[in-house]
Each structure stands twice: as C-alpha cells, then as structure tokens.
Symmetry: C2
Subunit: 427 residues, 2 copies
C-alpha cells in the first residue's frame, strides 16, 4: 500500500512526514482520531475534516477495516441537511488496552476496551522489594497473562500493555534505569515482559508511575481536561507528572517531573538518596511518620515505611480524634507541600496541582496549609490561580493512566501497535 | 473568500478548526510554513506536502500573493524527474519583524526581514525606573517609530512589533501585570504603544524578556535547535525562559519560568519581594556584589544594582587579577547557580541550560562550579546529560527573540497580523 501515490499526502501540514510509511501512519492516525472523537463518521466527513482526498480516505478506511480497528455502522444521520451516508466507527469493543503498575508492595491492573468499558481491574499485594527483579517480573508476567486472557474472553484483543513503575525509565527502549525504592538498576523491563508474554506477542511499554498517574488525572480525574496540570504522588517516595498544553511533558530523556529530590533546605536532614534537604525528607510519608510518631522505630530518614496505606489510615484516625501532636505535624508537612507546590507553580504555571497517595488520604487536613503557603510563595499570585486538589482515582491511578497511554499510542501510531492484532486473510 | 467551500478543509487533521475563518487561517499558515521551510515550492508540491486539494492551494496562494506575502519565482527545477513547474516563495525582503526590549536602564531594538537580514539594531541607554511608565512609553514609542521608518526605507513593512520586558505579562491582552525592578503595575503596554504608533497601525505584542531571550537562543543561539532548552538571565533580577519540544512553555497564564523567587533556603536573607531565601538572593548580581564588594554601599539586599554591566566588568577585572575574595565569592554564587539549575533540570529534563547577562560575562569562572553542583544534585545524573552554556547573544537576546516571535506569529496566524500590510486594490 505504501506504493499508492494517493497516500503520499499527509493530513499534518505543520510537519509533513518524510517517508511513505510515515505519511501512511500519520494519515491512518488522522482517520482514527476522527473516529475517536465522533460516534461515527462518513468517509466524506473524514475527508472534509482532515483535508485528505476522498479516495485516500476510502483507501485508509479499507485498511483499518481489514485490521478490524473500525467497522461499518450503516447509515449516518446527518440531520436536516444532506442525504444520509454510509458511516464507519471505531471497532471499540474489539480492541483493548492493558495497564499495569508494579510498586513497592503491590501490582495493580486496569484493562479496558476502546469504548472505555473496564474489562479487568484488580490489585495484588506483593513484596517487590523482597522479591527482587526476577521473581517480581515472573509475577508481573503471570498477572499480565491472566488479564489478557480475561480481556480476550470479553472479546477484546489487547493492542498493547503499558507498565507503570516508580523509577527513572528510558521510555524509548523500556528500560528501568533506576528505581530507588525498589533498588532496581538498568532492568530491561519491556523486553523481559515481552518474552514472558511470548506467544501473545503484545507490544509492551514502560513509563514512570507519576507520569502515567498524571495522564490518568488528565483523562478521567477530578481536574480532567485541564490543559496545564501537575500531579504529585505522596507515597514512600514523592513523584511528579506534568501535563503541559494537554500533553505529558517528558523532557529530553523522559526524566522530567523529578520533584522528590528538589533541594529545599541546605540545613535539612540526610535523604535516602544521600543528599541533604531533599523535598522528600519534608513531605514523604516517612517524614510525616517520623515527625508524628517518633516512637515508631522504622520511621528513620531514608528508610522505607512498611504498609504505607495502613500508616496513612492510622494517622487519619488520630487526626479525627483531634490528636494535637498529629495535627501540628500534618500542618508542618502541609506547609512544606505548599512550598514544593510553589516551585512547581512558579516554573510551570499550572491551573491545578492534583495530589494522590497519602496526600489525598489526608487532604482535608493537609491542603488548607498547603494552599495558604502556595499562595504566599507563588510570584504571580493572585494573578495566576493555582489550586491543590485531591485525586479520587486512588492507588489505581497509574495503571489506569498506563491503559490511556496504550490507547493514545494506538491512535498516534496504528501501524506499529496494530501488529499484535490478528489479520484475517482476505477472500 | 471564507465562503469558498474548497477552504472548508484543514491541513491540520489532529485538531480541525471549527469555523471557516479558522480553517482558512490554518490553511494559509500551512502554506506559509511550507514556503518558510523551502526556498521555493510549486503549488503541486505544497498540495502534496499539506494534503490540501490543489484547487485549495492555488486559492490560498492567490490570497497570499494579493497580500504580497509570497511572490512568483518562475520555474522550479525539480532535478531529473518530473518537468519544471512555476513556483512561489516567501516575499521575504518585503515583510519585516520588529523586536524591542525595555529594561531597567536601556531600550534595545532588533528589526529584520523574513529572510533574516538585520535591518536595524541599536541600544539606547535610558533610565526606565526614573522615567516611570509614561515617559518610558513615550520614549519607547519614538524609538519604535524611528525603527519602523528605517525598515520601510529598506523596503520592509513590519508585520508586527513585539516588546520584551522583565515582568509578569498577560500575553493575551499585552498588559504588564507587575514589573518588580521597574515597579510598574497593570500597565496596558500593547494598547499604549499601539496608540503611540497610531497612523502606522502595526500589531503590538508583549512578553516576558526571559521568554523571548529563550526563543532567541532556540532560534539562533549557542544551542540553537535544541528541543529541550532552558534560558536563565543573570541581571539585576534572575528570570527564566523554557523551551519544551521546540516550543516556548507559557503555562496557564503565561507566567511560567519564574525562577527568581524559588524558595531555596528557609534560613536565607530577605529578598526584595519580601520573602526569604529566594534563589535571586543567592545568584542575582546584587548577591554577588554584596558578597564580593561589601564596601559598596548600594549592594544591599533587595536594592537594585546601579550600572550592572559596569559592575560585572569590574568583577571580571578583579577575577583576572586573581583577587582571592572575588574568586571565592564567584565560586559560592556558581554553586548556587548549579543548585537552581538542578531544580530546573529535575523538573524539565532539558539538554542544555543557556545562561545570559552577567552569568555569561563571568561564565569561565561561574560555570565550572555550577556544572559540578548540577551533576551532584540532578537525580537522573549521569543518565541525563544536562550542561550549562554561556549565551553569546549579549544584551540583545530579548529584542532578537521578540522579532522571532513576530515572525512565528506571522506564520501561525497570517490573517490577524497581516492587517498591517498594505493591500493593493485589485483590477
């Protein structure tokens, strides 16, 4: 098909792809985007909206039909004007996206089809630190395989798998460069998981958990659709994901949004990373536990907190009881949360900072202090209104965002990701 | 022309504009972009590259010819294959872009045509602080008028004027919200300058000086073309401009890149802004002068530094002489520069941080300390290579970037900005 001269046109005039393959990919993507954004479209509508020739559109739609990504939906009703025309729509029920998250003590799963229907969602408690990379990857492979089989039983073929992990990730090749809280280094996670899924041959992507949680917030969270949005995850470590103009900011290497170790206090305590006064030493869950529950032996600088959700729940119980020491400790952490928020707000000028993890669990006590400090420290206040908001996606945010990334990838680059879909032979 | 049904197609398939006017603008822009990126193009080439119908392209080119933005250039030689075809090119010599910068003690001017030929470039010493907004705007108007007349004598009609200013700017309406070092508030600079230029009726834009200097660095600086680039200006105040994926990051209100008042030291000195431990109190020129030349009475926290360039030159002289106290002071400021750079690098993951103003003047002494501290503090080091680089654009960077913004605006949105160009009546 790449020989078809009618395909040697791109619908993206701003940066015309250079090869026939790239042109074809860009045009398939334009057609898919039309079908994602509308219940159904006639080929003529798609031609009008994309500027592509009708012959080219028919040609592209034929390929998408053949790949079973779109389907004929009969007559499109175009209101009073114009006569009804045969239309196509995304074959939403047939194509799936699987998101996984592997974290310190759990694996979470979110599988849905292109219509957004959730097909599988679960959370598995698992000690990834104790298990180490090998046992953890075996377990991740089994969980992924079960999820894929469940999705296929529901009639959806996963077009890809994305894995969220609290780590610096080389996104281009799916390698975990460094996961501080797991103590994993240079792990080719994408290749290893692909091998484990061998016979299923589903493309595997890997990204930082906070990046994918930010994508989930932008797609379906409390501030969904806010073009300038920052997500902060408050767990054992503190991570950040940044949405700029409605797109995930990655930077030159995919290492953007590393908020946990911003230097905020030259006289501060030693961090797990070996530096001093990192923001994580002020707002990480360990910092709060250390301040509020000094009696708890594990609450030492740089040491992981066991069972973080239970710790957060315990802190919440004490706050409800009006424990004075706990209220003071949370107020102090809240002010440091606001200070870190002001750094993010001064640099990115977002409209909202969504907080997850234990920040969300304790939002009603933390955020008033954080918001006040944010407004005191942001240079552009009050001209720029930036507010803190608590995430309601819970601990599933990253796996949900991972599924969104698979969908975006499918829409942006159908030719690579579609390789996993069965191609029925034509008559 | 907006009635022409052939214009009801866009070359931008990813986000089809909704109105006929927007479609026409997007298509004119696609054609202009083609002509910016190639010496000359035939209408057929443009149709192939944009996916627009040839009839639509001819129609758009006709409008651009009428507006004298493009010109016929006769036969295009398309190598061995295909027969020569009549081509068009940007009418580069005929259209100009004027960039201005107003700062504490100078106004600078950079006017060029679309081919990039510099038509006017000058710097006027001027006390904007003493003059206040009214006298400063009168002076700015006169300087702009002279520059426009000089450009017109050279045969180029300015398609727009952009003004750079060290301030928080509401870019949408060209209002200076707050210029700390000028002490200007809520000044409708664009409207006031437009009124001053009345009869010339040239569109006026306003933006933050660091944003526009960053644009100049991306367009023509030492790291030109680096898609992820941060610019830091070291003058009386410290500002930042951020390029992400080759585009200026503005944020929700255009207030991004406010690095000067990042809180880096809870125990730090009081800043001119009233807060404590702002980064500016560590790396602003006043901080260096205060540390290195305590004998100089004006070097008090928060007070402006008189004649900053002369101060920087004096410091450089002492460094060349090997003045021990000065070397220590510069090393200390260099480390704080590296710490601020690490905040920017952790959040944006840029490939390069270009420094201007006095940071550039003293680069050979400052940057080794800054680079070492950057590498110590960036979480992703050494996986992410981010380096400091000294700007070579001098104090003209912001006005040069302002001219670039006019050009970008002309290409992105021909219909609004072109209103200033004389439209010869058709036969």
């Amino acid at each position: 098909m790449t020989q078809d001269p009618r395909l040697l046109r791109t619908a993206n005039g701003t940066a015309p792809p250079t090869s026939a393959t790239a042109l074809r990919r860009a045009n398939l993507s334009s057609v898919l985007r039309q079908l994602r954004d509308h219940v159904s479209r006639s080929r003529a509508d798609i031609a009008d909206a994309t500027g592509l020739h009708r012959a080219t559109v028919s040609n592209l739609v034929a390929e998408l039909l053949e790949r079973r990504l779109v389907r004929e939906v009969g007559i499109e009703h175009v209101g009073a004007v114009g006569r009804p025309r045969r239309a196509v729509a995304l074959h939403g029920a047939h194509v799936g996206a699987l998101g996984l998250e592997i974290n310190v003590d759990y694996i979470s799963v979110h599988g849905r089809d292109l219509r957004g229907h959730v097909l599988v969602e679960r959370r598995v408690s698992f000690d990834a630190v104790g298990g180490g990379p090998d046992r953890s990857l075996r377990r991740l492979g089994l969980v992924a395989q079960e999820a894929i089989e469940a999705m296929e039983r529901a009639g959806a073929v996963p077009a890809g798998v994305a894995v969220a992990i609290p780590a610096l990730v080389d996104v281009a090749c799916g390698v975990v460069k460094f996961a501080p809280n797991l103590d994993w280094h240079d792990l080719p996670l994408a290749d290893r998981l692909s091998a484990a899924l061998g016979p299923l041959s589903v493309p595997v992507m890997v990204d930082n958990d906070a990046n994918l949680a930010a994508l989930a917030e932008y797609t379906s969270g409390v501030a969904a659709g806010t073009p300038h949005l920052v997500y902060l995850t408050g767990e054992v470590g503190v991570g950040g994901g940044i949405i700029v103009d409605g797109r995930l900011l990655r930077g030159a290497d995919g290492f953007s949004g590393e908020v946990g170790h911003l230097p905020v206090d030259p006289a501060g305590a030693r961090c797990g990373c070996g530096r001093h006064g990192c923001w994580e030493t002020k707002v990480g869950l360990a910092a709060l536990v250390r301040t509020a529950m000094p009696e708890q032996a594990y609450a030492l600088p740089g040491l992981p907190v066991s069972d973080p959700e239970e710790r957060a729940a315990e802190i919440a119980r004490r706050l409800v009881e009006g424990d004075r020491g706990m209220l003071d400790a949370v107020a102090q952490v809240g002010r440091w949360l606001g200070l870190g928020g002001s750094i993010v707000a001064n640099l990115f000028n977002p409209r909202v900072i969504v907080v997850g993890g234990y920040f969300a669990t304790l939002a009603e006590w933390l955020l008033p202090h954080a918001q006040a400090e944010l407004e005191r420290l942001v240079v552009a206040s009050p001209a720029s209104q930036c507010r803190f908001a608590a995430s309601d996606l819970g601990f599933g945010a990253a796996s949900r965002g991972a599924a969104s990334m698979v969908v975006n990838h499918l829409i942006d680059d159908p030719t690579t990701i579609m390789s996993s879909l069965p191609r029925p032979t034509l008559p």
